[in-house]
Amino acid sequence: MTSTELPLRLTAKDFKSDQEVRWCPGCGDYAILAAMQGFLPELGIACENTVFVSGIGCSSRFPYYLSTYGLHSIHGRAPAIATGLSVSRPDLSVWVVTGDGDALSIGGNHLIHALRRNVNLKILLFNNRIYGLTKGQYSPTSELGKVTKSTPAGSADWPFNPISLALGAEASFVARTIDSDRKHLTSVLRAAAEHRGSAFVEIYQNCNIFNDGAFDILKEPETRDAALIRLEHGQPLIFGDKCVVKDPRGFGLRVVPTDTVAASEIIQHDETVTEPAYAFALSRLPEADLSHTPIGVFRNVTRPVYDDMVRDQITAAQTAGPGDLAALLRTGDTWTLS
C-alpha cells in the first residue's frame, strides 16, 4: 500500500483522558491502564476510531481514563452492546473491558455468545477473583472455601476457569497475562489486536484491598519461575526444572521434572491447533495454588468472523442497487381504486 499521508504518530499521552483516575492506590488496574496507553499508539489507529465498552465493576471504569470513545454500560452487558457497535461499524476497533463478576457471573451468557460467534471484539477480562466495587464478596473465580463477607463459612461454589470457559465456547483467540508484567501484557495485547475475530484475554489483576496477593506465587521472584509456564509458539513447554508432557491417563497434559523424560516427549507449544482440546488441556494445568499456570497465547486460530458474514450478506443483497421502498410496499397482491 502506498500513501502520501504521514503515518499517525501518536504517543501514550494522546490516549490519556482528562479524567482523574479513581481506583484505589496500589490497584493492579493502574498498571494495565499504563500498559494500554503505552501500547495503543503502536496500533496506528486514530483515537476516534477506537472504542472501549465496559460493564460494571472497578475494571469497567477503564474507558473513562482513555481519550478514545468510551461507553461505560451496565452490569454484564458490554459484550452485547459492543457486538451491536462492531457489527454496524466495521471501521472501528472495539475493545471490551470487563471483570470476573461482570463477564462470568451476570454477563456470562453474552460473553460465551460473543466468543462462539467470533465477533471482532478484543475482550479484556481483569480477573482479581473477588468483587471489589461491591466491597469484597466472592466472585465466580474465587477459590472453593473462600471466606468473604458473603461467605463467612467459606464459598461452596466451584470456580470458573475463564480460559477453559472461553475455549469451551470455541473462542478463536485465548490468552492470559498478568498486570505486573508490562512486557508480557503488552505482547499479549498486541497479539490480541492483530487477531481478526474475538480475542479473549484474561489478565490476572491484584485487588490490594479485598484479595491482596492473590497472584503472588506468579509474581514473586522466588516462586514465579517454578510456577509460571510461559507459552511461546513453537517452543517446548519447559519452565524451571519442569516440563509439560502428555498425560498417559485420559486426554490431558501433565507437569513432570524435565530430567525424567526424553526431550522428544516434551510438548512443543502450537497456538494454531484447530481442535480446542489441546489449549483446553493447557488451561487445566494450574494447581489450586496457581502453580503451573500457563501465561501467553493458548489458542490463535482463524475462523469466520461474525461481523464480516453479517455485512457480506447485506453487501450481496445490495449488489443490484439499493432497495426500492415503493416497490417493497407493493409486495404481494395490490389493487387500484380509481
Partner: protein, 615 residues
Amino acid sequence: MTKQLQQLDRVVIRFAGDSGDGMQLTGDRFTSETAQFGNDLSTLPNFPAEIRAPAGTLPGVSSFQVHFASFDILTPGDAPDVLVAMNPAALKANLGDLPPGAEIIVNTDEFSKRALQKVGYAVSPLEDASLAGYSVHPVPLTSLTVRALEGHTISKKDAERAKNMFALGLLSWLYHRPSESTLAFLERKFASRPELVAANIAAFKAGWAFGETTEDFTVQYEVKPAPMPKGDYRNITGNVALAYGLVAAGVRSELPVFLGAYPITPASDILHELSKHKKFGVTTVQAEDEIAAIGLALGASYGGAIGVTTTSGPGVALKGETISLAVALELPLVVVDVQRAGPSTGMPTKTEQADLNMALFGRHGEAPVAVIAPQSPADCFMAALEAVQIAITYRTPVLLLSDGYLANGSEPWLLPDVEALPDLRVSFATAPNTPDGRFLPYQRDPETLARPWAVPGTPGLEHRIGGIEKADGTGDISYDPDNHHHMVVTRQAKIDGIPVPDVAVDDPTGNARVLVLGWGSTYGPIGAACRALRKRGLDVASAHLRNLAPLPANLGDVLAAYDTVIVPEMNMGQLAHVLRARYLVDVVGYNKVRGLPFTSHELEAEVERVLNDQH
C-alpha cells in the same frame, strides 16, 4: 340451476378447523380476493400457541375471521354470519359465538364416532336438534376433494389436505369473489411441485363448481365494493406494516436500521420480515436473549444506526435496565412491545393491552420515555415511522405498543406516496461545540433539549459516556446533588416537550355529554360502537390516543368538557389510572381481558348503559 342473487352490505365469515387444516391460509386467500374485489375488510386470526396441538381436539382449533362490507368498517366483526367448520372440534369451539340463524358449512366427513367422542359429543350434533336455529349445510368436503382429484398423481394425504382449497372455492363462489389472485398464489406457493399446483387449483375449482351445481346452496351473495379513497391498495397485517415502517424510516433518515431481537410470540414476524430486507441496509441479529437483543440495538444506535428491538411483554421486562441506560445515555432506541395476554407466559397468541403501566413506569429511577400506540394494523406503519422520528430527534428510547390483535389482524392499506413520507434526516455532531474548541457531549439543543449524537469515528469529539450520572454539558461523572436533580428534571422535560398532535374528538352533533376514550387497538370496536349508537340517535363523543407519553396538550380540556368519560381497555384500567392521577377526572373504566378484542356490541351496550345512567 339458477341461483338467487342476494345483496348484502356486510358479512362476517369464520373459517375454523384443526391447526393442520390450513385455515389461516384459507382465510388469508379469501381476504386477498375480498380486498381485490374492493370491499373494506378487517380480519382476526385466532390460533393456539401449540404448533400442532393433538389433532381433532378443542385446544387444536385454529380460526380466521374476516369481516367485509360495502362501506368502511372498523372491526373484524363481533359474531360470524357464516362458520366453516372443518371438524367437530371446530364446530364445538365456535358454536357459542354464532348468532341464531347463522349459516354453518360443515365438513361431514370428519364427523366420525371417534372424532365426536374426542370433543365430548355423545351424539353427532348434525343428527340431533343442537343445530336447530342455524342454517346448516352439510358438505362432505374431504371426500368430494379426494374424488375431484382422482387422476392426479398425488398421495391420498396430499389430496385430503387440499380440502381447504375446495372450501375456499365454495366460499369464493358463494360470495362472488374473484379467483385470479388465488390461482396465481397457488402457482407461486407450490412452484417446485407442479403436481400440487394442479391438484390445489383443481380442488379450488371443484369447490366453486360444487356451489354452482348443488341444490343445497340456493342463494349466492354479493357485497358491493366499498367507496374508499382512490389509490393503490394492499392488504396488510400489523406486524408487516410495522416492519415496513422501520424500513421506510431507514430510507427516509438515510440511516441503517439495526434490529436486535429474540424470538417471541407475537412479535417474531417482525424479525422474520425485516430479515428479508437486507437490500435496504437493514441488519438483523437474532440475539442470545432479550437483554442482549436490546444491548445490540443500543450499541448500534451509539454507532449511528437506528437501533430497534422487538419483543412482547416478558421481553420488555427483561430489557428494562437497558432502556434506563438508554435514557441516561440519551441515545435513540426503538423498543417495540407486541403485547400479549400476561402475566408471565400468559396466553402468548392472545391479545391484551396490559403493558401500558410497564411502558410508562416500568423502570428503575426516573426514566421517562416516549410511548406511542398504533390504532389499527395499517397504522403500525406510520407509528413505526413516528417512533423512529422521535427517537432520533430527541435521542431517547421510544416504546411502541402494538398488540396481538394488531400484529396478526389485517386491513386494506392505501399505499402512501413514498416521497411524501416525513423527512427523517438528522445531523450527527461533527465539530466541537464550545467557543474554546471543546466538545461537550451533553450540551443540549435549546429547542429539543436533545444532546448531540456524536458517533465514534468522528475526530475531535472523543468522549466517554455511561450509566453513572453525568454533569449536564460536560458529561463528566457527577455526584453533585443539584446536578442530579437538574438532570432528572431535564430528561423529563425533554420527553414532555415532544410535540404530539392534539387529540381529535368525534362528536358529530356537538351535543354529546359522554366521551369514549381509547388507546391502541380498541380504536376499531370503540368507533364501531359509537357509530351504531349515533345511528340510533344517541349523542356520544369518541376520541383516541396514539401518543401515551407525552399525552396531547389538549387532553385535559377535552376530558373536562364531558360529564362522563368512559375508557375501555383490555387491561384492568391502566390508562384510566393515569388520567385520574393526572387530570383528576373520575373516568369510568370498561375493562376486560379475555385475550380477544372487544366486540362493538359489548361496547355499545356499555356506553348505552352509561348514557341511561346519566338521565
